[in-house]
Every structure is written in structure tokens, then in C-alpha cells.
């Protein structure tokens, strides 16, 4: 009994670490953002009111609390700019995730079926692009896609087009950039689940009368769903808030929420509205997270 207590103590402290991390680097900053989102913009330093000043006692703080309002959120809900940015973010994220899944699944599947000694090499090839800075790779795409860029040169040389095609500043370029950048995040979790799968399950399926196609849809695919969920979330969540890729590769016609946020924050200097937009984005991400959690638990517990 006493020995158990001795060993349990450090373990219990260690268990606090992730919570401490969450509080320090997520909850506290989120509290700041939430507070700003409920404030009003002002030409001041910092550019919003009220400012909590703990030196002036409780009454001042109480008064400051009274000034907080949901005005910014009402603005978000009523202004079509924000609604359309949110919608575009969701559409872009969903579309990109689907494309990523369609491209990533066959690649991960192929990797998992490679001879054992080739698998680490294939894995390296997936990871290798990370060795170059993300921003540099996106700029490289600009080079490739621009009017007299590599892609147009190749197309013209092959006589596939008669005049240069406009690639840059289109949605096509943006999707290309997103899919290119996020593919590893889709492939790796899928590969992890697919490579762990027991090959005798496929033999059993075949033995019990499934054609290879049936065996895939009845056994491989359902068993890879946790990987599909992980990969999809790993892509969907950052894509929905993506700023750099749409800003550099897409046209200026419509914006994703990340771009709108940036505009509010740096161009309009409207911190409170920008903060409100950020909070709303977070709320937007809760449903897919809950869905994934349910899915995960379903596969773990074998729920009925």
C-alpha cells in the first residue's frame, strides 16, 4: 500500500502536465481573445475598450465588465462578408479534404502493400518535402503556375494549348497548393492504419467468397475508417483557417475566413471584430471534432 503511494505520486504530477500546458497556452490566451471579442474598437493603445485595469480596484473592473457586449458577434452574423468567408472556408476545407482523401488513400494503400523493405523509403519520400520551408514551396508553385511559368511552357511545347493558360490567382491554383501541402497529413495516418491490418483478414474474406473488390469495401475500408477520420481531421481543421495558400495562390474575388481575419486585424485595425471572427471559427470546428470523437469511441468500444 505504502509503496504504491510512493510510486503513484510522481505519476500523478506528470498527469497534470498536459492540463497545465492547455491552461497556459490555450485557455489563458483564448480568454484574452474572448475578452477582446466582447470589447469595442477604439483609437487607442491597445485599440479597444474597455481595458481591465486592476490598479483601480473592483468597482472599475465591474464597470469594465458591464461594457462588454456581443455586438461584434451580431455584426458577424449580419454582415454577408463574414458569412460568405465562413461558407467559403467550409466549402474549400470540405472539397480539399475530399480530394486529399481520394488521392491520399490509394497512395497510403499502395505504400502499405509494398514489400516490407521498401516501406520506410516510401515513407521518407512522403515526408521529404517538409525539409523545405512551407512558404518557399508555395512560392515555388507561384513560379510554376505564373503566366510564363514552367507549367505553361510545358503545355505550349507539347502543343496542348495554343496560348498561356491563366493558372495563378484561380481556385484551381489554390486547391493545387492546399492538396500539395496537406497530402502527407492525409497519407501518414492512413498508412499507419492500413499497414497494421492483418493480411489474413483479406484471405478470410476471400475464402468466404468475396472478390478482391468486395473484400476491400467490406473489410479493408471499414477497418481503415479511424485512419480516414484522423487524416480528414488533420487536414480539415488547419485548412479551414488557412491563410497563406489562398492569399498567395487564389484570386482576390472571395476570401476565406483566415484572410478576412487578417484584413480586420491588420488593415482595419479592428481587433474586437477580428477576435470575434476567431472565436466563431473555433466554435465552427467543434462539431467535426465531436463527430470524430464519437467515431473513434465507436471503433474502440465496438458500440452497438
Amino acid at each position: 500500500m505504502s509503496t504504491r503511494r510512493i510510486f503513484a505520486r510522481p505519476a500523478r504530477y506528470a498527469a497534470i502536465a498536459p492540463y497545465l500546458w492547455m491552461v497556459l497556452f490555450f485557455l489563458v490566451p483564448f480568454g484574452f481573445v474572448l475578452k477582446i471579442s466582447l470589447s469595442q474598437t477604439a483609437i487607442a493603445q491597445p485599440p479597444y475598450v474597455p481595458v481591465f485595469d486592476f490598479s483601480e480596484g473592483w468597482s472599475a473592473i465591474n464597470a469594465a465588465f458591464a461594457q462588454l457586449s456581443f455586438d461584434n458577434f451580431r455584426l458577424l452574423a449580419s454582415d454577408s462578408l463574414y458569412i460568405s468567408s465562413y461558407l467559403r472556408s467550409v466549402v474549400v476545407a470540405v472539397t480539399s479534404t475530399l480530394i486529399l482523401l481520394l488521392i491520399g488513400y490509394p497512395i497510403a494503400y499502395g505504400m502499405a502493400r509494398l514489400p516490407q523493405r521498401w516501406q520506410p523509403i516510401a515513407m521518407m519520400l512522403v515526408i521529404v518535402p517538409f525539409w523545405t520551408s512551407f512558404l518557399i514551396r508555395i512560392y515555388a508553385w507561384i513560379n510554376i503556375l505564373q503566366h510564363d511559368g514552367l507549367l505553361n511552357k510545358i503545355l505550349l511545347t507539347l502543343h496542348l494549348v495554343s496560348s498561356p493558360v491563366v493558372w495563378l490567382s484561380t481556385d484551381t491554383a489554390m486547391y493545387l497548393g492546399i492538396v500539395y501541402s496537406y497530402l502527407p497529413f492525409m497519407i501518414l495516418p492512413l498508412y499507419a492504419t492500413l499497414s497494421k491490418m492483418d493480411p489474413s483478414l483479406l484471405e478470410a474474406a476471400s475464402d468466404l467468397g468475396s472478390s478482391p473488390r468486395q473484400a476491400f469495401w467490406l473489410v479493408t475500408f471499414p477497418l481503415s475508417l479511424p485512419g480516414v477520420g484522423a487524416g480528414a481531421l488533420l487536414c480539415f481543421i488547419p485548412i479551414i483557417g488557412e491563410f497563406v495558400i489562398p492569399d498567395l495562390l487564389a484570386g482576390s474575388g472571395s476570401m476565406m475566413i483566415g484572410q478576412t481575419l487578417w484584413l480586420e486585424f491588420f488593415t482595419n485595425k479592428d481587433w474586437p471584430v477580428a477576435a470575434a471572427a476567431a472565436v466563431a471559427l473555433l466554435v465552427l470546428l467543434v462539431p467535426p471534432l465531436l463527430l470524430y470523437d464519437r467515431l473513434q469511441r465507436g471503433t474502440l468500444e465496438g458500440g452497438r
Binding site: S200, S206, D207
Partner: protein, 394 residues
């Protein structure tokens, strides 16, 4: 016997059912014929020009050490491996071009290979659905299977909510559900503990008899093979060393290797020195002249081994009292008891002969109190009858 075309799945299942009924005609044509089949992995010959006939309704065991090719042979029957040469005929038809999912053969996998995302019920129904059976018929069949392997009440569980023994039953039910012509079992009991393994052996035998199906089981456990099978094929290095009933395998092994692999044995190497009155005398290096009964098939070579099972070797402090007529008929070897292992039902004595060789003798403990036990250091005479010896070519 209609609807043989592989496209009509229901018809195929029905024929399989018809053929699997216990009243299957016992004619001479084997259900399964393996003809000169070889399989190589790189330079390694896993199965080497092997031929084998298996009759309908047999419980056949492929026995051998690991790496002997028994699992490869089983996998070729299931269709997971293709033979490099030779043919496999099922009911007279070459099944080489038939893909695994179209063969009227099912397999129970060593690790069970249950689908973790499906319930017990759906695991058992899996093969029936693929065969295009009607929903009601599937429900009936699954019910039968669940009752057959005594899994009632567990239909909704997932494999990870089952014990090892229960998983084994689900795997069995799933492979039996399609009523295959031949059921292949790959080390079906290897993952169970000893007690459960013994009771499951009996259940498998009972099931096989009741369903009249042909079972081919792969095992490395000779006791398991001897208990369950009608016939055993002993494999080594990709070849069948001997195919025989459990009794013949033990009492009349075809080679030194089989004699040593199946059960315990004492071996004396020597040469045939004389042959008279249906008795051979063999001059052995370690045991002197040993008399053996002349085997049915005459021994072709003179360089042979004499094999004698330990339970056929008796021990006495003094030489057995022999009447004159019998005197020639008994082999006697003198030595010292060096080791006594009490095993409950029997005791194994190691006797070091004066020649330096060691003979093992297993003696049944037929009485609870034994006043005349032998102990280490005692001088004894090990004796055995010529009829109990087997002459093996070397």
C-alpha cells in the same frame, strides 16, 4: 448435381450442402487428389512433388515440424498459393484456375482472422451473404451454426469481447457456415490452453462425424493428430514421409525419421546377420545381436536400424525366467539405471547399457503402492520381444 457453373453462387452452395450430407456415397474416387505438387519460395522448396489422396468424409491430419511445408500445402488447397507444378483435383476437377473465393473449400485460420468490426453474427453470416443467400435462410443458418458451436447469447458481441475459446468457436462456425466440401483447419487448437484443447479436440471429432464433412487439419502436435484424425500424413522437408492410420504410424513407422518424430523410440543401428524361422538376427553396435520378427515387406538392405518403443521395453533385476522354447525369442540387454522420471501414469527409466548406449523404458504405474520400484544405480536387464521391434532401412 446441377448448377455447377461458378456464376450461380446459391446453386454452388446448395450442391456443396448436398455433397456434405452424411450419406455421401463412399465410392473409391478420392474427393481430393494432390498430384505431384511443388511449391518454391525463391530457392526453398516448401512442397516437393507431393502426391496425396483424401476420401470424402475423412478426418485427415497433416503432421510435421514447423517449416515442413504443411501449411503451404493447406494454403494451396485453399487457393492462397498456386502450385509451381502438379495438379490439385477436387471431385475430379482441376481447381488450379479456381480463385479462392470461388472454391467450395473453407479454411479456419490459425489466428482465427475474425473481422474485428463485425459482430459474431455478422462474422458467421459473412460467407453466406457473399453466396447470395436469402436473408431468412441466412438467419436460419447462422442460428444453426451458433447452436452447433454453443455460442448462444453471444451473437451481438464483437470479437474483442470474446475469450480465446469463444473466438475459436466463431472461427469454426464461420468456416462451417457455407457447408464446404472440405474444411481446412490451420493449427485450430494451437492458441488454446491444454485443458480446453483436449475438450475441443473431442468436439471437433464429434462435429466432423455429425456433419460428415471432410476435414483436413494441419498440426505440429502429434497427440492432437493421433486423437482426432482417421489418417495422418507426416511431412518433412516438403515431402510426405508416411500416410497411415495413427496406430500404423506409431507401431509401424516407415522410416527412422517417422519413428523418431512420432512418439519416443530407442534405435539400434546394425546389419542383418542371419535370417531363419521368420526371424532376423541383427548385429547391432550398441545392443549386440537383436532378434526381430521378419517384416511383411522383406528388408531389401542389410544395413538397418531396429526401433523399439520405450513402453515395450521391460526391466527386471535378474534375467527373465525362460523356458527352453522361449529362450531364443527374447532380447536381453544389461545395464544400470541412471535416471528415473515419474510421470504419474507411467515412469520412464533410462538405462545405460554396458556398451555405453542409453535405452529408455516406460513402465505403466498400474498399482498405487509399488514395493518393487527400481532406483538409479541399480543393475537391471532390459528385455523386449522380437515382435515388438520394427526394422527400418537406414
Amino acid at each position: 448435381m446441377s448448377g455447377q457453373s461458378p456464376e450461380v453462387d446459391t446453386a454452388k452452395i446448395n450442391t456443396a450442402v448436398a455433397q456434405a450430407t452424411p450419406t455421401a456415397p463412399a465410392d473409391d474416387t478420392p474427393l481430393l487428389r494432390v498430384e505431384g505438387v511443388s511449391k518454391k519460395f525463391g530457392d526453398f522448396r516448401a512442397v516437393d512433388r507431393l502426391s496425396l489422396d483424401i476420401k470424402a468424409g475423412e478426418f485427415f491430419a497433416l503432421l510435421g515440424p514447423s517449416g515442413c511445408g504443411k501449411t503451404t500445402l493447406l494454403r494451396m488447397l485453399a487457393g492462397f498459393e498456386t502450385p509451381d507444378e502438379g495438379r490439385i483435383l477436387l471431385g475430379g476437377r482441376d481447381i488450379a484456375p479456381v480463385l479462392p473465393h470461388e472454391r467450395p473449400v473453407n479454411m479456419m485460420f490459425q489466428n482465427y482472422a475474425l473481422f474485428p468490426h463485425l459482430s459474431v453474427r455478422d462474422n458467421i453470416a459473412f460467407g453466406l451473404k457473399r453466396a447470395g443467400m436469402a436473408r431468412a435462410a441466412i438467419d436460419t443458418r447462422v442460428g444453426e451454426m451458433v447452436a452447433l458451436v454453443k455460442l448462444d447469447g453471444l451473437e451481438k458481441r464483437r470479437p474483442d469481447q470474446l475469450s480465446g475459446g469463444q473466438k475459436q468457436r466463431v472461427a469454426l462456425a464461420r468456416s462451417l457456415a457455407r457447408r464446404p466440401k472440405v474444411l481446412l483447419l490451420d493449427e485450430p487448437l494451437a492458441a488454446l490452453d491444454k485443458k480446453l484443447r483436449e475438450s475441443t479436440q473431442l468436439e471437433l471429432m464429434e462435429l466432423q462425424r455429425r456433419l460428415g464433412m471432410t476435414f483436413i487439419v494441419v498440426t505440429h502436435d502429434q497427440e492432437e493428430a493421433m486423437t482426432m484424425a482417421n489418417r495422418i500424413g507426416v511431412m518433412d522437408a516438403g515431402r510426405l514421409e508416411q500416410v497411415a492410420s495413427p496406430r500404423d504410424l506409431y507401431e509401424a513407422p516407415a522410416s527412422r525419421w517417422v519413428a523418431q518424430f512420432v512418439g519416443d523410440v530407442n534405435l539400434f543401428d546394425g546389419e542383418v546377420s542371419s535370417r531363419e524361422h521368420h526371424q532376423l538376427t541383427i548385429a547391432t553396435r550398441d545392443g549386440g545381436a537383436i532378434m526381430v520378427a521378419e517384416p511383411h515387406d522383406p528388408v531389401g538392405e542389410t544395413v538397418v536400424s531396429v526401433a523399439i518403443r520405450p513402453e515395450k521395453v521391460k526391466l527386471l533385476r535378474r534375467g527373465p525366467e525362460l523356458d527352453a522354447g522361449n529362450a531364443q525369442a527374447i532380447n536381453q540387454l544389461e545395464g544400470v539405471v541412471t535416471d528415473v522420471s515419474y510421470l504419474g501414469g507411467s515412469t520412464v527409466y533410462k538405462v545405460k547399457l554396458d556398451s555405453g548406449a542409453v535405452v529408455r523404458s516406460s513402465i505403466a504405474n498400474t498399482a498405487r503402492l509399488d514395493i518393487d520400484t527400481l532406483s538409479a544405480g541399480q543393475r537391471v536387464i532390459a528385455w523386449f520381444a522380437p515382435d515388438d521391434c520394427v526394422v527400418l532401412e537406414r
